[in-house]
């Protein structure tokens, strides 16, 4: 690994100032993605600002919302009683991600900041516009089995690998950010980016900005939820396709629904049109199938990932059926 300067930040202010003024400085929290990328020479910060001593670990709830500190560990969030009671979809998604060891290290903010990536991003012998802008995309004509079917560009077809992000986008979370110019909030759906012409930018965070918390407003989606993750092995693998489904039912009538997919785009992919098609309908496999067809409109496969065009809608139907309890 390259040498770097290591600084342990004791206040949020110094952490932000130090990182904002130095183009080669990065925050480090759990380090599960960053240290990996540094070992491979893909990410080469010359200064690491360790933020683990900042007081951002709390998970608390007050009227109308649950607030999760950016440094709360993935395992701690997945086992938190408030989360399990109010937002079980988030707990399910977290437990579907990575391994027990990684969830004990990875933080909520770090999970959001893990790179959208593919094997060509990791292979420094291959072109990758995300790793080396302008070098080309190895995946476009390469082995693109894991890649995007929505929202890609000719610059990048990688997918965001986070499971947590899929649940958070479905649950309409809000991201709290502190930065050199002050604080701001961003709707979760606007936090991550599509690749466009700047695939090197995964999200809309500005230099020196720090995620401080994620908030989820209370919602009626605490009962009929399911996170379905389809992957090459039973556990500890990235999703080929995943679906976060949450239903608010009144008897058999769908009063509200939230749907999002993972493993299909450069960012967690919310299925707004399919949601609209479901509201007011009666729970049935046929209804779910119709919504799934709507969800897949605009999807396009590549040479090796066209199976996702079939796996996607099937996964949506299965997730909704399980959430509704009609398996």
């Amino acid at each position: 690994m390259i040498q770097f300067q290591y600084i342990r930040a004791s206040t949020q202010k110094t952490a932000i100032e130090t990182t904002a003024k130095d183009a080669t400085a990065m925050f480090i929290a759990g380090g599960t993605n960053l240290v990996d990328l540094m070992k491979r020479g893909i990410t080469t910060p010359q200064k690491l600002v360790d933020i683990n001593n900042l007081p951002l670990k709390n998970i608390d709830a007050s009227t109308g919302r649950i607030r999760i500190g950016a440094l709360a560990l993935n395992s701690a969030v997945a086992e938190n009683k408030l989360v399990l009671d109010r937002q079980p979809l988030l707990a399910q998604a977290l437990n579907a991600g990575a391994s027990a060891q990684l969830r004990n290290m990875a933080t909520v903010g770090g999970n959001m900041m893990q790179r959208t990536r593919c094997p060509y991003f990791y292979d420094t012998a291959m072109p990758c516009n995300k790793r080396e802008p302008g070098s080309g995309c190895g995946a476009l004509e390469g082995f693109n089995r894991m890649h995007a079917i929505f929202g890609f560009s000719d610059k990048c077809i990688a997918v965001n690998p986070s499971d947590m992000n899929v649940a958070l986008v479905a649950l309409d979370a809000t991201v709290h950010i502190a930065g050199p110019k002050g604080n701001r909030t961003v709707p979760f759906i606007n936090f991550h980016r599509l690749p466009g012409d700047l695939p090197q930018k995964d999200n809309n965070l500005e230099k020196g900005e720090l995620i401080t918390a994620v908030e989820i407003a209370d919602n009626p989606f605490n009962k009929h939820v399911h996170y379905l993750k389809i992957r090459d092995r039973a556990s500890y693998a990235f999703a080929l396709v995943s679906v976060a489904a949450a239903l608010h039912l009144d008897g058999n009538t769908i009063k509200g629904v939230r749907l999002a997919m993972g493993g299909v785009a450069h960012k967690p992919w919310r299925l707004t049109e399919a949601e609209k098609a479901l509201v007011g309908k009666t729970v049935s496999e046929g209804t779910f199938r119709q919504a799934a067809e709507i969800a897949m409109q605009g999807a396009k496969g590549f040479k090796y990932n066209s199976f996702k065009l079939k796996m996607g809608p099937n996964a949506i139907v299965e997730a909704l059926k399980t959430a509704a309890g009609i398996v």
Binding site: M1, I2, Q3, F4, Q5, Y6, I7, R8, T24, I28, G31, T32, V35, D36, M38, K39, R40, Q46, K47, L48, D50, N52, S75, A98, S99, A100, Q101, L102, N104, M105, A234, S235, Y236
Partner: protein, 213 residues
């Protein structure tokens, strides 16, 4: 084939000892500069003394490993895994993939199972680390070690220290209530020999035995 040329030295004084000494001095200095990482060059350029110090010098690190307090000096880029194996000769913790994919390097930090290959040692400041060497009590094996032997929970043995550390944590976390749950929560530990059924049996037995672990 490139034509082989004699190494020519600068100036007419090339053969004099004086010049040769100067040249060697100068060139080794240049070499030293060339292999110096960018951060130091940058720090030097901006006369940023503390920058040089922080990137080149080792940092003090105090932590407790297997009940023994350690006061060490490490470079920031040293992982906990390399610290254990290379500096402290605790080679029970294995380096499998070194990229957080196999679980062979699993240790406990403040009681939580983590991957030592993705943990910078400096980030374990003030923490309590337990490795496979810290599980047994003298000659008395830890119940999980004994169960792995009884159930033949390994073949080549390379993943075993990580499996055992993970298995102990799996029970402590309360994630060993069924075979399916054990398999899910042990999925971060890969065994190329495929000893999984026996590993699950060993964990089930320790869990059901209700021993202090």
């Amino acid at each position: 084939m490139a034509e082989k040329k004699a190494c020519s030295l600068p100036g007419d004084q090339a053969s004099s000892n004086e010049s040769r000494r100067d040249f060697l001095k100068q060139s080794s200095l240049l070499t030293a500069f060339a292999i110096t990482p960018g951060v130091v060059v940058k720090a030097a350029e901006s006369k940023w003394d503390e920058g040089i110090a922080a990137s080149l010098e080792k940092m003090p690190l105090k932590l407790e490993i297997n009940g023994v307090k350690q006061s060490l000096q490490v470079e920031p880029r040293v992982t906990l895994l390399d610290l254990l194996r290379e500096q402290l000769a605790l080679t029970g913790t294995k380096k499998g993939c070194d990229y957080g994919q196999c679980g062979a390097c699993t240790v406990h930090v403040d009681g939580q199972r983590v991957l030592s290959c993705l943990t910078l040692a400096v980030m374990a400041e003030g923490k309590k680390v337990t490795t496979i060497e810290g599980l047994a009590t003298g000659e008395q094996l830890h119940p999980m070690q004994a169960a792995f032997i009884k159930h033949d929970g390994f073949q080549c043995g390379y993943c075993t220290p990580g499996q055992i550390m993970s298995a102990v944590a799996c029970i402590k976390e309360g994630h060993a209530n069924s075979e399916a749950e054990i398999r899910e929560f042990m999925s971060g530990n890969i065994c190329r020999c495929g000893a999984y059924p026996n590993i699950v049996d060993a964990i089930m037995e320790v869990k059901q035995g209700g021993q202090q672990i």
